[in-house]
Amino acid sequence: MYRAQSNQDVDSGVCQMSVDRCSTTVDSQLTGASLSAAMADSDRMQRQPAAQRPTRHRLTQPRRIEQRTATNERDSIDCHHSTLMAGVAPVGSLPSDSNAALLRMSALSSLSSVHRVDLHCHRYHRGGDQTHAENDESNTGAAGRCRIGRSVADCTSEEQWHREDARSNDDDEPRLVRSGPSTPSPNATATTTTASSSIVEDIDRDDRHSTHCHVEYVDDVFRNLRAGERRLQRLKRALPETVERQRRQIVDWMCQVRTQLCLRPDTLALGVALLDRYAYLLVEQRDAAVLRISFGAGALMLASTLEEQFPPESRDFSFQCRCFDGD
């Protein structure tokens, strides 16, 4: 308990610092897009009763504006902050002590994603064993590091990848030459030509000097994501017909709830992914598995705790459960 508390203290301290730093740049860079985004945010804020409004409100708002400013008009496509966050955090990095983990989780979810990146990077560089194991795993397929998870069967053998990679190397276009599997090589990929499709365009070139986009981590992030994806493919199980039908009803309900509670698209995607993983566990454990609406709501609650800036309360979800029209 004490540990979690102190973590939060540290977090909010860092938080304060970054706000001070960024508030100088916010005013000068405020664009139309970011203004409307900020207005949408404050709109959303006002819909919450004042009592529930967190005290960190003043801290979080300017930072959001600043994020939007960084991404400018390509805002919706390009904010890979949360992707970055999800990728850098090594799987299983949360402590297994459940109490501390959940407290930590709630502490994390109240910070902006830029911050979460910083925090996770720290953990990443400090290098838990898990992180290194992760890297090793993905480095084994260094030559074909991108071709993963084509199907369940493909994921099983390492040799098959290499063979596939060799095959695809000589089929159509030549592969981009990179200096190494782990080092991002900005100069090798930096090309400004967009007209010719025969040259790989460097899509990060505009953000290379941006301090908000963390382009230097992008390779690591995606290696981690692909490794996680490969592990996920191994967990996947075929669901029985009844469970399949229940899953469809629950996912439909989750889509509705997402609209009703104005959740982020990430929350829905993560919620569905968590529900699936729980379903695989259930199917493995017993033959007559039943997916209930409470699991759907539980998955969505967990996802919104992780992704949302202001996660809805559990009574909002229990209210939404009454609108569920499945069995």
């Binding site: 799987v91 692909r226 699936d276 539980g298 967990l302």
Partner: protein
């Protein structure tokens, strides 16, 4: 008592049970992680990106056809291809940029994009 009449205490317990069952390993890669980057590599406008997001959201409802056999990044790549092909005029090309950033060749993604289209039209009915 109907299954849908749940108190918030019950829901909290359910989510707690799930988190324990998943061993607090709550990070799961999903299509949006990849779709953002792929959309960018494809040079999509925000409208196209929203379209691709919508396609993915519809696609993950079908478990046996889409979610089970294909990895999230492949679903995202297929959605990007679907959007490119449904543009006016359709863009058939799978550029080297896309090839590099998605890690999939056109030959890999094309069948999945067709399956995606079939599933979407089936579910729309």
């Amino acid at each position: 008592m109907r299954q849908r009449d749940l108190s918030d205490e019950q829901l909290r317990r359910a989510s707690w049970r799930m988190a324990n069952a998943l061993d607090f390993d709550l990070f799961t890669p999903h299509h949006l992680h990849f779709l953002r980057r792929f959309s960018r590599a494809s040079g999509h406008t925000s409208e196209d990106h929203n379209h691709a997001k919508r396609v993915c959201e519809q696609a993950i409802r079908a478990h046996a056809d889409i979610v089970l056999p294909y990895a999230p990044s492949l679903i995202a790549a297929a959605a990007v291809m679907h959007v490119r092909q449904s543009k006016q005029p359709p863009i058939k090309q799978w550029t080297r940029t896309l090839r590099h950033y998605t890690g999939y060749t056109r030959q890999t993604v094309e069948p999945i994009a067709q399956i995606l289209t079939r599933v979407l039209s089936r579910d729309a009915r």
